[in-house]
Symmetry: C5
């Protein structure tokens, strides 16, 4: 999985029928130091994430292993909202102080 920050939303009225009802988020990849990278994905939300939250997303066929995404043309899904990240013994991210 990758760590990302929800930085925005995508609206698309014309889409494959299997995408109906899914929320699409812009998710910017994060570095080990929890700063924004240059890359991003558009991911389906399966956990009620909101803009600005740090999340985990899964890619590829694994992105279809949630109830929301099963059998759909979706290759990235947010499956967790991150509370804390610890790197090399220090707190790299803490949601309560974000």
């Amino acid at each position: 999985m990758k760590l990302g920050r929800v930085v925005g939303t995508v609206v698309a009225s014309r889409k494959d029928e299997k995408l109906e009802g899914l929320r699409l988020y812009m998710v910017q990849d994060l570095s080990l130091g929890i700063t924004g990278r240059d890359s991003f994905v558009v991911a389906v939300d399966s956990v009620g994430a909101g803009v600005n939250e740090v999340v985990l997303y899964a890619s590829g066929s694994s992105a279809r292993q949630t109830r929301e995404t099963d059998g759909r043309p979706v290759d990235a899904v947010i499956m967790a909202i991150v509370d804390t990240v610890e790197v090399n013994g220090a707190v790299a991210y803490d949601k309560t102080g974000d």
Copy 2:
């Protein structure tokens, strides 16, 4: 999924039989600021997209989860035409003003 802009078309008369009838588009990847990147894919269209439109495409096995691509040797499919993208609270892309 990734955000891309349809920048062209590919014509191939000699191809695997399972590709018959599919439209093939050149799709340039976009940055968070909705400018063109260096990379691109050739994607099958499942939603009636046209040249110049900003689209979402899915990759890998997820690209075979549409009616058009099921069971075919296709690893990228356009499954939505984007209306708007919002990033960090501002409109990064709006189809009506494109």
Copy 3:
């Protein structure tokens, strides 16, 4: 899918039994301007491509959706020989003038 140019061949006499009878091509990735990139793959040919031709190849599990590659340890397959590529309204590649 990706656009590539067939630039060579690979011969391997010792291989997994499921690879018997498959032709293996060196395929160099192409840029939007149809010039050679630094990267390449070794792909199985399913359409009778030849050296120097511009082709489309599919990767991952999608590469196993042709008759030649079904159930084999193959992650890249040439599934179309390209006639023309149009980018931004201009002809970027035309096989007849290649």
Copy 4:
């Protein structure tokens, strides 16, 4: 598979139900010389790894081929703790002297 070093942990209380009970590790990718790279993944642990250990992780659908990860939205799994790595005839990594 890729070689990585477990450098930290991720805690997420709000997550897809299928992630309950899985331990999530920050795993930094390693170079051929067994030094840390810029990239990392968040991987599920299936072998009882600990922080600081050098591990092997599998990605994509292969990450769902362990008892812990089967059918879950997981795209990276630690499936081995590395004892030694030998490169070009020399010991590049030895756990006992790490």
Copy 5:
């Protein structure tokens, strides 16, 4: 598939039970000119390859299509030992003169 050179081995005594009995090789990626790149994978051997040999490896779910790797958490498999590579009409690699 990708071209790589076997440059070493990985030993891991603590691992997922499905990895028992598999040989794990360090495989460095090669350029079109058959020189070593910066990147590498750890791949399972299915063809009796040895250190220093140039090989083909398959990635992702395709890596599980050999008898040795079926159903295992393995995302890279060596499935051929390369005899010769020809690029742009010239021999880029010949095992007998390696």
